[in-house]
Symmetry: C2
Subunit: 187 residues, 2 copies
DNA sequence: TAGCCTAGAGAACGAACGTTCTCAATGCAA
DNA sequence: TTGCATTGAGAACGTTCGTTCTCTAGGCTA
């Protein structure tokens, strides 16, 4: 682990913060320069264009999301709890008062139709999450059809928590997931 | 019912089409002028600003969403089917090959942090939908805690269908809703 | 026909953006 | 010290956008 971040990491982290909180097109390169302390010349030496910065942000966000999920899963002791840890991690995210929903959904809505690489990055993150949930569901011995349902609960919770401004959706999602797991076991 | 649309309706409908398919900031006033055939002067006589057009679009989209839900519910014969008609309506939406997710979620992600009125319009639509689902759930004699869960399924299905490009999410959401309704009945 | 009001088409304006360029300051090799 | 390559700060450029303004054509009244 490197405690000193490279300029590229500094720029990516700052861009992530700015883009996520205000929207991508609302943040100019000049603002990113001011936030990072890097010169424009340096920024354009690190990245060929703003689009490349956006893609780097989405890439790092994908990694943080996966790491957060696995960190939450690591605290669980049973396969069933590992499935439910997804919603514990969501709750963690939601309680932040500047939570603004899934960054991939936001980027897709803003740029997905204009910048194909953004749409593809969002798709990749969703497919990755679906695969992760599928693995947890299989490990818990639950039927495979349950996985896409649990995914929908998590996706819906993110937009609902963001727009309504409350973390309640995480609890509803968790309770629904429990009910679905129990129902599948009973059947 | 008026078969001849007012210029305001023409502008709102065209803006809705353009904004939804490409993103709001990606569509200039000049493109809206070209699409509608109205002059810029006329557009600015109808609306004081682009922001006002965006809000009019969201308002009309809210009405279309509610009308679509009620139209789907009208074909159902039992209270339970009326609940599930939500996901039939979603499937209707998803099969359109230019489906791009919930317009309110997209607008919120793009402009919610910059334009408070957009965030409020999105919140109002979500709250309205939650109330609608709550009424259907109550009419079906199901426990009230089910409503927010069914909402999450619908919200998640919209983003998933948009980003992954398939309408499958509607079927998963419907199946999950059925399982939750059945589980609640059994309890 | 004469005068006036409306409205359409698009030029114009000021601001903001992404990107590039200038230029001076710096560090380093010999 | 001299010369050169690198770099930082920010001015500059070309484009695009939202919005306003100009100018002209056309229709209505008398």
């Amino acid at each position: 682990m490197n405690t000193v971040s490279s300029p590229r990491e500094v720029a990516t982290a700052a861009a992530d913060r700015l883009y996520y909180s205000r929207g991508i097109q609302a943040v100019s390169m000049d603002e990113l320069r001011a936030e990072t302390g890097l010169s424009l010349k340096k920024l354009y030496a690190l990245f060929p264009s703003k689009e490349a910065i956006v893609l780097a942000v989405l890439h790092s966000r994908h990694e943080q999301w996966s790491a957060g999920l696995e960190r939450a899963a690591a605290t669980a002791t049973t396969p069933r709890e590992r499935v439910l840890s997804i919603y514990d991690y969501l709750l963690e995210c939601f309680v932040s008062d500047d939570y603004r929903g899934c960054g991939f959904v936001n980027a897709f809505g803003e740029l997905g139709a204009t910048v194909p690489a953004v749409a593809e990055a969002a798709r990749a993150q969703k497919v990755g999450f679906q695969g992760y949930v599928g693995k947890l569901v299989a490990a818990a011995g639950a039927p495979a059809e349950l996985a896409p349902m649990l995914v929908l609960l998590a996706e819906g919770a993110q937009t609902t928590a963001a727009i309504c401004g409350t973390p309640d959706a995480a609890r509803s999602a968790r309770a629904a997931a429990e009910a679905l797991l129990d129902g599948a076991r009973a059947a």
